[in-house]
């Protein structure tokens, strides 16, 4: 009796699963896919436009109306990476006769300029790399230790401490910077690599503790306990059992931490001026002779963004976790 009553009911379930069966629904879903593709492409227009501008000549970059088709040029990159001097008409004539000019010199010569040396940009990019690299090593290193302690042991005041660590991340950079600026000026850390590394380490530590704690929570305690039964000390178990198990988490945290320090603008603007200046505060200020050189700015932005885009693709499985401080695991 019960079977008879159930059988037709199940049939109804299958036939009403409209999304799986009917052709009308299939059309809807391909329309949806098409809309998704179009929306994605529209969203990428700004980035694409910047990439295109990076390969335009100076007049093409500010052409009215905007040029979609143009002859690619490396002028933007040359302007970005070199400092140049305007030549007089006589000098231009002399330069045009010379055969020893490199391709960059020839591009500069089109605008009547001679390259006098490298610009500040390569050094700033290097600063960005050093500061974000070193601070990431420290923040992930300290982060993994604290995350393990928070994950495995009852730390007094643990919840408050964890909340406090996270709340550091919520404050506007300007709020934190005022006292740090005074402090750094007092001890001579203003505009130094060490000062920036210290700041970014502290800044990213909150993030890495939270994210890594989530990853370490997922490693069963039994693994370490079994190892300790076999004669490992707690430290050995941590090094040989927990760390290898947490590799994915450590890698994801490292990359997120790298991106955060790489992208950071406000602290760098306020706490560096020259020696330790990173790329983000400099990109808006790439100015050439005679106004904003959009091709150069676009070239700088492109050079700055490409690593991030590549990393985004590598990280796509962990993005959700990263942006929610490890709170949400499944995507």
């Amino acid at each position: 009796m019960a079977n008879v009553a159930n059988a037709p009911r199940q049939k109804v379930v299958i036939s009403t699963r409209v999304d799986k069966v009917s052709t009308g629904a299939r059309v809807t879903s391909s329309v949806r896919a098409a809309i998704a593709v179009i929306v994605a492409l529209i969203m990428l227009i700004p980035v694409a436009w910047m990439a295109m501008t990076a390969f335009k000549t100076r007049p093409d970059a500010v052409a009215v109306p905007p040029k979609v088709f143009f002859e690619p040029s490396f002028e933007g990159f040359v302007s970005l990476l070199t400092s140049r001097r305007q030549l007089t008409n006589d000098e231009i004539a002399v330069y045009q006769q010379r055969t020893d000019l490199g391709w960059a010199d020839q591009i500069a010569l089109i605008r009547g300029q001679a390259i006098t040396g490298p610009s500040a940009f390569p050094r700033q990019l290097l600063n960005s790399l050093i500061i974000s690299g070193v601070s990431t090593v420290f923040s992930v290193g300290f982060g993994v230790l604290s995350a393990y302690a928070f994950s495995r042991f009852p730390v007094p005041g643990k919840d408050d401490l964890l909340f406090f660590i996270l709340s550091q991340r919520m404050l506007p950079p300007v709020v934190v910077t005022i006292p740090i600026f005074l402090m750094y000026r007092q001890v001579g850390l203003h505009d130094t690599h060490i000062g920036m590394v210290l700041l970014y380490t502290a800044f990213n530590l909150s993030f890495s503790v939270w994210l890594l704690k989530g990853f370490i929570d997922e490693i069963p305690r039994e693994y370490e306990e079994a190892a300790m039964v076999d004669g490992y000390t707690r430290l050995q178990a941590f090094r040989r059992i927990v760390l290898p198990q947490a590799t994915t988490g450590i890698a994801a945290t490292t990359v997120f931490s790298l991106i955060f320090s790489w992208n950071e603008y406000a602290f760098a603007l306020m706490l560096t001026s020259d020696a330790a200046r990173t790329a983000p505060p400099s990109i808006p200020l790439v100015l050439g002779t005679g106004g904003i050189e959009w091709a150069a700015i676009a070239a700088g932005s492109l050079a700055f963004l490409i690593p991030v885009v590549i990393i985004t693709f590598l990280l796509r499985k962990h993005l959700l976790r990263g942006v929610t401080f490890g709170a949400i695991r499944k995507g």
Binding site: T53, V174, V229, G231, P284, T324
Partner: protein, 314 residues
């Protein structure tokens, strides 16, 4: 629980492990050693600065003057709270936060509904849509400045404004400048809302929809009674997180308008920066403003963390 486990591990090791002769660190000691660097850095780089600036907020100190700080009591706070300019900044920040967070929520949720069901290449499309949120806001602001440009930018031609004389001047018009920043923020952060909504949507059990289909529930009813409530916790987190970020907004404004034209887009963070690091370098006054902002942010982030914890437990 963990203590019990740890002790069990410890005692069983002592029974079975061969003596190594090496001095072993107790678990307590390990905890201390492991947390120490984090705590030291936090005290040095967060707690001390916060206490220091709390002190400064009661003084008339300026970093560029040689005079030592003079205690002025609550003067800075009363000055800020009674000055209409500051209220204007707070209003600007609030308007900006409201506009950009609500638009991001709508756009992000719509994107998630669009990308919810898998199709060929949906993974790549999803990742492509996520690219903007990983980019440096200041760089984003700079290239949007090119896009907004009334004469050689591409936004106006795309929108159909071809005559330069009548086309909108996004960053130069006080009525539009805040919208311009909202547009860029929505462009950059809708993907974030989408990402969280996608996570929520993927967790909805299929049988709920099947049951609704049996009952011949309308699509709207399914959306309102199944989809929305199930996504709500994650959507709430996204909204709170974006609200906090919107209140902090600094990079985009600096990159796009520097707070202008006039003070049309001067958010609290930008005003704070100006007060502390430009002009008179009013360190005392800016510290007081910083503390007011801090109280607001801590209140919102408290809500945020509570929502996170509820999600962890639930």
């Amino acid at each position: 629980m963990s203590q019990v486990n740890a002790q069990r591990g410890l005692s069983s090791r002592q029974e079975t492990a061969p003596p190594t002769g090496r001095r072993q660190l107790s678990d307590m000691r390990i905890v201390q050693l492991f947390i120490l660097p984090t705590i030291i850095l936090l005290i040095l780089m967060n707690i001390f600065p916060l206490i220091y600036s709390l002190f400064l907020s009661f003084t008339n100190y300026s970093v560029i003057s040689s005079d030592p700080p003079v205690w002025v009591g609550l003067d800075n706070y009363t000055h800020i709270l009674s000055d209409p300019d500051f209220w204007h900044n707070f209003a600007t920040t609030g308007t900006y936060a409201l506009l950009s967070v609500s638009l991001q929520t709508i756009v992000g949720f719509a994107l998630a509904m669009l990308l919810r069901s898998k199709f060929a290449g949906s993974g790549i499309i999803t990742t492509l849509v996520l690219v903007p949120m990983m980019l440096s806001p200041i760089v984003v602001a700079v290239f949007w400045r090119l896009i907004f440009n009334p004469s050689y930018g591409i936004l106006n031609p795309i929108l159909g404004f071809t005559d330069i004389n009548t086309s909108p001047e996004w960053l130069g018009d006080p009525a539009l400048a805040l919208w311009a920043i909202v547009i860029v923020d929505v462009w950059q952060w809708s993907p974030f809302v989408m990402l969280l909504c996608l996570a929520g949507l993927s967790a909805i059990p299929e049988y709920l929809y099947e049951a609704a289909a049996i009952d011949r529930a309308s699509v709207w009813f399914q959306f309102r009674r199944i989809t929305l409530p199930q996504v709500m916790p994650l959507l709430l987190i996204a909204v709170l997180f974006r609200t906090i970020e919107a209140f902090k907004q600094f990079d985009l404004v600096q990159g796009l308008t520097f707070g202008g034209p006039g003070d049309a887009t001067e958010t609290v963070s930008v005003e704070l920066y100006r007060l502390a690091f430009q002009g008179q370098f009013e360190t005392g006054l800016s510290s007081a403003l910083a503390y007011i902002v801090l109280v607001v942010i801590v209140a919102i982030s408290n809500l945020y963390i509570r929502a996170l914890n509820r999600l962890r437990e639930g």
